[in-house]
Symmetry: C3
Subunit: 137 residues, 3 copies
């Protein structure tokens, strides 16, 4: 008989302003372990239009490269129609604030060089929410 | 006992040509409400290789910025190997036509400034399909 | 009564070096058929930070355009902080190695011009893993 179910958790944290990296990998694994769900998926979603979620190696030199990459893709000092933070919205559109992770035998199947990072792309510090949904059996 | 289940819905609509924005947020919430599933995820997927789905603020000035952004990322008048609409395919690859949304207590957890938009990136009007899958309990 | 369940499969293959395209569409459909799950989703995830997964038309001329596109978005010969393969990481960040596909009546709802391709973005041949999760009823 199926015991497929879902556990929804909300995680709140503060960012320190534009391009701040918050590693959520350990927090997500903890919610998975607490849920006692062993096989399924974990959907991580942030209800913000000026934040992003990426899967990447959490290495200081690479994070510097990512800052430059974001600036080149959607430069901050260009003229836009939307006032004040259009570049933040465009960055959030190209790197959407959501990821779905595989859960196998109680562990998220992160690769050796994969971490899940929230990146603040808005122009000032914000309080942010991430919804962590553990689904499976 | 688990009552986890899935409801699949197909939504068809017409676009008016290249870079047409269709806001599907209300339609998706209606399918969720009709399904009577209260907690889970909603997977929205469009089986097209020249359309995109984005989560963004639905604001006219920002939509103008998005048009410019798409044109800069994959310019229409460049020389490509693939005939006629390579730029449409590249835009669809960078903004894939799919999103997974969290469903909590009967409501999709859109942020205040988040809407789900289908964007036509092909070079002429098309009939488009979006598959809306509500999964949960 | 719910018979919602999940089947996890691991698929391993070798790539031939930077920008190698591997079409996984048929392999994924086979895992779906073997699972006997008829309605749900299929989550495809690769635990690598220098590989990507895209949905696109599998057409030789378009694949050439995609190579140029990747090179323009994150050029290989630029100066980066991260040693040796920063451009591979940035490409993997902008095209994450994951896709969620709809499963309806036993068939993945690929569009006519949609295939799922793994693209090697690291600088030498690698053994790669893709996790295929079939969830549904």
């Amino acid at each position: 008989m199926s015991n497929f179910r879902i556990v929804n958790k909300f995680c709140k944290f503060n960012t320190r302003g534009e391009i701040d990296f918050i590693d959520l990998s350990d927090k997500i694994q903890k919610e998975v372990t607490d849920s006692e769900i062993r096989n399924g998926i974990v959907h991580v979603f942030s209800p913000h239009s000026t934040g992003i979620i990426v899967l990447t190696e959490n290495d200081d030199s690479l994070l510097e490269d990512i800052k430059v990459f974001l600036e080149e893709l959607a430069p901050k000092d260009r003229q836009y129609q939307h006032p004040s933070n259009a570049h933040s919205h465009l960055r959030s559109m190209i790197f959407p604030p959501a990821k779905t992770l595989p859960l196998v035998n109680g562990m998220i199947e992160f690769g050796t060089w994969q971490s899940l990072l929230f990146v603040e792309t808005d122009v000032y510090p914000r309080e942010r929410t991430v919804i962590i949904q553990v689904m499976g059996e």
